[in-house]
Symmetry: C2
Subunit: 207 residues, 2 copies
Amino acid sequence: MARPKSLTHDAIAAAALAVCDRDGLAALSMRAVAAELGVATMSLYRYVADRGELERRIVDRVLGAVDLSVPAVAPWHERVARLADRIRDAVGAHPETVPLLMTHRHASRGLMRCAEAMLEALDEGGFAGARRVVALRAIVSYVNGALQAQHVAPLAGAGTDALAALSTGEFPLLAETARHARAVTAEAEFRGGLEALLRGLATAPGR
Amino acid sequence: MARPKSLTHDAIAAAALAVCDRDGLAALSMRAVAAELGVATMSLYRYVADRGELERRIVDRVLGAVDLSVPAVAPWHERVARLADRIRDAVGAHPETVPLLMTHRHASRGLMRCAEAMLEALDEGGFAGARRVVALRAIVSYVNGALQAQHVAPLAGAGTDALAALSTGEFPLLAETARHARAVTAEAEFRGGLEALLRGLATAPGR
DNA sequence: CTGTTAAGCGTACATCATACGCTTACTATC
DNA sequence: GATAGTAAGCGTATGATGTACGCTTAACAG
């Protein structure tokens, strides 16, 4: 016995993501999202409590789009790597949202989906108890850090050039290392670190 | 032949950091920092180009305070772990700045100091060329991700409790894993993941 | 047709970063 | 010591932001 809603949470998240993709994260505002939907600014507040919730819904949409259908038959570390690649793909499709992912990932059902899939692989790999906790957190930490590094300071970016340029100086090793950075693709970087982590997780120390 | 400056970049960064520490990152504003220093808001713009530069100086101050004096005689992986612990200490002293670290770390001389120190250890460990690039980036990614995870979603926090509470449901492994999280201290988590990564980096795959 | 209810939204406000240009304090020169 | 030149300091103004508050309106139940 009331006026029906004209928007959905899904449409709002899609509109917000569209604004980010098109105009950048800095352009994300309640006004911009409302305009994108063709409604007044304050109408959004019938659907989200505040800007924070809007951001959380963006994150959830990006992470919810991760394709988790990896073959369950592969060895566990390969499954985890495959899942991480899928996350990388999903985030790569919306690079502007990376800072939001960093801030809001914890309150996201989308991340929980990914975590559960990771845990299935880890479980199969024999991880249990505290060891599984550490493994999951390490993987999530690495993936998050790597995604952010790739977006905010890509190896093939201006920062690397700047480092390589200060050939002599107070950071000799850093400069020399930067000069080798061009030989490393973003994918090799991501995979290399991840696989190292997984190899290390496989070889427990005190057992 | 002009009026001398009454502030220094250092004093500004210190004041900004003080605001963050005392009132939280959300309270960080040009006005708040100016008030902290006892000057007018616009006076700050004689020293920093914009708010972004202010934030970068905060990051630089936090990272510049990292104690890099670790014994050079220890095995390389232990040196790296020690350095990472020092970074963790420095960031832990200013937890409110974590989101800034994530956004601005790349343009920070403070991070370059840390990176150079890490590279010294890696060099000693025989890392060179592209392999050294991958190793450094992986370590930096992990440390960043782990620090952020620790502050935005600590294992000993409400998020873990919430996960553990949804005992039955769509995320059974996640819930069960959360229930084991209390047995893992923040330090064990950080160390566990880092040492796994370093172990994995030590064992190169295709060689 | 009409009344009830929640959706939609116009207005207002506090706060933010910051552009612009005036005022002021210091110092170098005489 | 007086004075002029210069950059520091800052007052004011502008446009953007998130969002509180309460009015308007559309849709459905009766």
